[in-house]
Point group: C2
Chain length 703, copies 2
């Protein structure tokens, strides 16, 4: 289904199916809210039992309604919802929000009813929000198509659209937003999502020019590609998309053959894709609202330089600590700035970043204005944080100072006001200034601001465009499903520019020994079988063989082991390779993710990947810049720069390989299941795939 969601989100007339005259009930509350908040469109209660509800004419069915209806609110028992949809279809109602529960969430029986509902809605051309949802609040247009607790209170409109898959938690978040004086333009709970999805609603509300920030609470989704599309649209519009997704540590249950597959926990993939497309991830509800706060009030900073002014040295240290944990460095101030600052603040203050102006500013208010101006004038500072606390007796004075600071500031800044009086919060918002209530949350939020700003800059600079800097002809994939033979896979990889260590398939011990003679270094032997993916476990690998005798013996052993341990395996011979030169071990791979399609992975080999699971994912394909960003996200990235006396390796070469592999994956998305290059050895500028495992799905001529 497709088409604009305007009738759902900005209806010009609303019918209420099953409207109750008791305005406290679930089926009475929407009418109360619409009336109380003075919805400007027509409201048509439908209920054969009444002629009138709350002064409005009430209709026996949809057909009896005199005017056109964009949206119907459906609040009748599940069993009669399909009939209600038929009735609305006859009236050509265009959208319905269905509160009723008793569908998919109830198991098999409910799922059957849900399928029937979907079929009727489709036939009638009605878009559905829900069922089993709290509905929609469009605060701009006073559309109160909800029975939830959030609508039952002030709903001041603002530039934030909040879409939630959870009704209960979403309501709590919306209420917290209201307490923080953050206006929600939209509040939408999507419920069972039988038709309209989280992503589709988000796309529609972000397109509304009254919205500047999208916020979402996600419990799970099927179509990651749709979400990526929304994220790209949001980046293009310059509207940040802040998401809380629960299920961070989930996964594990996935059955996969390759390393890449076994490491692709749903959440790790989501984290990578979020970074890739500039989605800002929030840990929890308060973090989400902190991020929304700064996005709603701040311009994007031109760089990552955070400058801090505090009245407490300790708060400054706490913020510096947190910044360092987030891989942000508080820039040193320029010498001229420091001099100017030193002249402006008391002798027992600190003129370096974080600047400590001490409590002195209470008796000398100009000190605050002056120090922030000096800080923001520094070329290394791109965004400011001003930390203060309490000051109940000085709110008016401080607001006046902040008014001046705001008027003069050419760079974004936020106020972190611990234990702030409510009037201070509202006063700062009225001045267009973001205000947070803790030192760490302030850094977390500003880190999100900087990260999003970088993603947006990259977008504008077309760095994130899908224009690969490499090109190659793609070879045809073999038609058979399953594991591709070593030589065939090598040919495919070589064609896309993956440097593979030489390999020869020997069919006798003698042939293996003869092959290895030419290497001038020790050899490795590995069983070659389409039925054996885990060669080591099958006793099918022997390394460091430095004599012909040892090679012959190893050949025999390997074949015997494989036959014994994997009885029905077809043995196609034994792969003979020179031992790889020493270097940094990497694992690079592709995996078909159920949500996002083909994803590309990189990790550092050995213990780092096995024990610490230090890997990074992106949706394929990736650009060179994105590939470099992947390397920067590795916990142990310092290994690439050389440790323990080892030389650095070429990150550019690794990134190039990632780009090529990702393009291969994207082009063969229909058939590629898993690819593992494990290990890839990097030494200086050179790079070798030592082993590779390529798994394909069956070929369907139609795809």
């Amino acid at each position: 289904m497709s088409g604009s969601l305007a009738p759902l989100l900005r209806p010009r007339a609303i019918a209420i199916v099953g409207a109750s005259a008791d305005l406290r009930k679930v089926n009475g509350r929407p009418l109360k809210f619409l009336l109380d908040k003075q919805y400007a469109g027509a409201i048509y209660p439908i209920n054969p039992r009444y002629d009138e509800i709350a002064g409005l004419a009430c209709y026996p069915d949809a057909a009896a309604i005199p005017g056109e209806v964009d949206l119907a609110i459906v609040a009748v028992p599940a069993a009669i919802v399909p009939a209600a949809i038929d009735d609305l279809g006859r009236k050509r109602v265009r959208a319905a929000v269905i509160f009723s529960s008793g569908f998919g969430e109830l198991g098999a029986e409910g799922a059957k009813l849900e399928a029937e509902l979907v079929a009727r809605a489709r036939a009638a051309g009605i878009r559905i929000c829900g069922p089993n949802c709290l509905g929609i609040v469009n605060a701009f247009d006073r559309v109160m198509a909800s029975f939830g607790q959030y609508a039952d209170g002030p709903t001041p409109p603002g530039p934030v659209a909040f879409v939630t898959q959870s009704g209960a938690f979403g309501t709590a978040i919306a209420a917290l937003a209201r307490r923080r004086d953050l206006g929600l333009g939209y509040f939408v709970n999507t419920g069972n999502e039988v038709d309209v999805s989280f992503a589709e609603v988000m796309q529609e509300v972000l397109a509304d020019e009254r919205i500047r920030v999208g916020a979402g609470y996600i419990e799970g989704f099927k179509d990651g590609v749709e979400l990526v599309r929304v994220a790209e649209q949001a980046l293009a519009l310059g509207k940040p998309l802040v998401l809380t997704k629960v299920g961070r540590t989930a996964s594990g249950a996935r059955v996969a053959v390759s390393h890449t597959g076994s490491l692709a926990g749903e959440d790790r993939v989501f984290a990578g894709v979020a970074r890739q497309f500039g989605m800002v991830r929030a840990r929890n509800e308060e973090h989400m609202l902190d991020l929304v706060e700064v996005f709603a009030f701040c311009d994007l900073p031109a760089g990552d330089g955070i400058g801090i002014v505090t009245q407490s040295g300790g708060a400054g240290v706490l913020m510096a600590d947190r910044a360092e944990e987030l891989d942000l460095v508080l820039p040193q101030l320029a010498a001229a700035t420091t001099d100017e600052m030193r002249a402006a603040i008391p002798g027992f203050g600190t003129a370096a970043n974080p600047v400590d102006i001490t409590g002195q500013f209470v008796s000398e208010p100009q000190l605050l204005e002056r120090s922030v101006a000096i800080l923001l004038s520094d070329p290394n500072v791109h965004v400011g944080i001003v930390w203060i606390q309490l000051m109940d007796a000085h709110v008016a004075t401080l607001l006046e100072i902040f008014r001046h600071i705001k008027a003069a500031a050419s760079k974004p800044f936020i106020v972190c006001w611990v234990a702030a009086p409510d009037e201070a919060l509202r006063g700062l918002h009225a001045l267009g200034i973001a205000v947070l209530r803790g030192a760490e949350p302030a850094i977390d939020a500003v880190a999100g601001l900087c990260r999003y700003a970088a993603a947006r800059r990259a977008w504008v600079a077309r760095e994130t465009m899908r224009s690969p800097l490499v090109s190659f002809e793609l070879a045809e994939l073999p038609l058979a499903a399953g594991q591709v033979g070593t030589l065939a896979a090598q040919a495919l990889l070589t064609a896309i520019g993956v440097p593979c260590l030489p390999v020869h398939i020997a069919h006798s011990a003698e042939e293996a020994a003869r092959t290895a003679r030419a290497f001038e270094r020790p050899a490795a032997l590995k069983i070659e079988s389409p039925d054996i993916a885990h060669k080591t476990e099958a006793g099918g690998v022997r390394l460091g063989l430095d004599s012909e005798a040892s090679i012959r013996a190893a050949y025999a052993e390997i074949v015997v082991n494989a036959a014994a341990r994997v009885p029905h395996a077809r043995i196609d011979g034994v792969a003979v390779q020179p031992m790889a030169p020493p270097g940094v071990e990497l694992v690079i791979g592709l995996q078909r993710d159920a949500v996002f399609g083909i994803v590309v992975m990189v990790g550092l080999g050995g213990i780092l990947i096995e024990v610490l699971r230090d890997v990074v994912f992106r949706k394929a394909p990736v650009t060179p810049a994105q590939a470099l960003a992947m390397l920067d996200e590795l916990q142990a990235r310092a290994v690439l720069d050389g440790v323990r006396g080892k030389p650095a390796v070429s990150k550019a070469a690794i990134a190039d390989l990632l780009v090529r592999v990702s393009l291969f994956g994207a082009k063969h998305a229909a058939r590629l299941r898993e690819l593992d290059l494990n290990p890839v050895i990097a030494a200086g500028l050179t790079l070798y795939a030592v082993d590779w495992l390529l798994l394909l799905d069956a070929h369907h001529p139609s795809t």
Copy 2:
């Protein structure tokens, strides 16, 4: 200095030096607060300019005061503070809290004045809190020896003592505590700490039986041993000590020779010692208050099993995620519990932990009471979390339900109430129930509760007592300062039971070759010089030498390299060792920490220690249980259990080695500077120190 701080913290009579008649001024506010809050003791303003202030007789000097004075509040300019102390001394005043700034915090000139102040106070026998502090609030006894913003508002007493090194930040934290309806029995700001330290105040307030929880904000301290003593006392009393210490990521600037030394960032050591002695560390102010909340209201759980009841599946997932991040596992409920739960909750709820009772409980309040009772009855659940949101219209009903739950519960539980109305918070506190406002903070706080409970259990079980399970005779240390020779160090280590790889010091290439002949495996050669600690960097190490020719060549090379790269080094020969067998590489070491004295370290060798700094510290000595806990804190601890086909190693053997090394360090604390066993190779049950570096300080017969 020593002696009880009762006159400072619980004075029976207070003098105010420099009292102002203007009660809005710094030197007028304490009098106002004392009067407003009805301090029961005598109050004596001292100021020659007045006969009376606010209806109280005012005295020209201390001598004129008719009664005894325990505490003097000093609020005069810094320059005349020493004279004021003299005056108080003549009156035999026992303690003074000095607000005045202009001392050590102002640099050299101020430090001079500070030294004078200390000398006069010492001579007069007066204990000093401050200078440059906001002072003391003892809410129980209405002692308002403070001019800070916190005293300028309600100061309801409660079981929490809060001691802060920062005035500004501390005041903000105290105000946040008040907003959360957490009563502070004590609020103390220690300022420059020229006499009374953070630790001493904490010790004194924890000894007050009206206090159940200690909370502290620390910016830095010199005497870690004093803090450890307070922590031990707190453990013995069963009163949790919650600390926020800023400067988490500090360090780096330390000059050290050994790995252990270079990794001993002040904060990493603090983190280890805090764990060791049951101090509960808070990330920031809100986290600290969350922990204080649960400690103030909850009994300690008997285990780590967290059971959760929510009205939102998503909130449950968010909490499960967070628990997993903190290495806590939500236990599976027993089959009987699950059956009972399934019968009690709606069909679309979840009967497994986290239990989702859905929004249904609004219309069926008994559902909440019933489900929590079932949850807490489960043998695997030791502490419960109940997550709800909003419910403005149902507060009274919910409080009634929680009253019943509390009355019936034999296990601790907390309520996590997102966007709770204020009346709900106060109502729950009145019922003696802890309430948090976010899902993640709730898990973080309960994790702290469980961790502290475990530390306290261990204490009670005497696990943390200093009774080592090993004993050995300590050899005498050599008298010379500096690096101890390889053989001498080996002898010392062998005597304490450290298994060292054999080593022979050769003085000629021939001798080296002859020595290696007996090994039956390749040899390693290392330069032997008291002037070369970093042998590899000096070109002084050659490994894997498998022929006599290569050994002779290596000998020559090593000696030439060392002479060239460290020109004045004394060369005592070349150490010859067999190459170590393969196994898991560890680094174990000792380091003299400036704050905590001798600390012991363990880390996994190679990249993990170099790149990820995956190391754990404890104050020496450690018990076997503490040593095992160190291993459990390693990020890459899974390596010890065997990865990539390698067998597990013996954690018990490693722990035993840590105990022995830590005892060695503790006994030789006066002279030991650094010890590095790097690497220690663990393979199965065996353990070998391959290389060791021992550095001593000069011997002073007096110590």
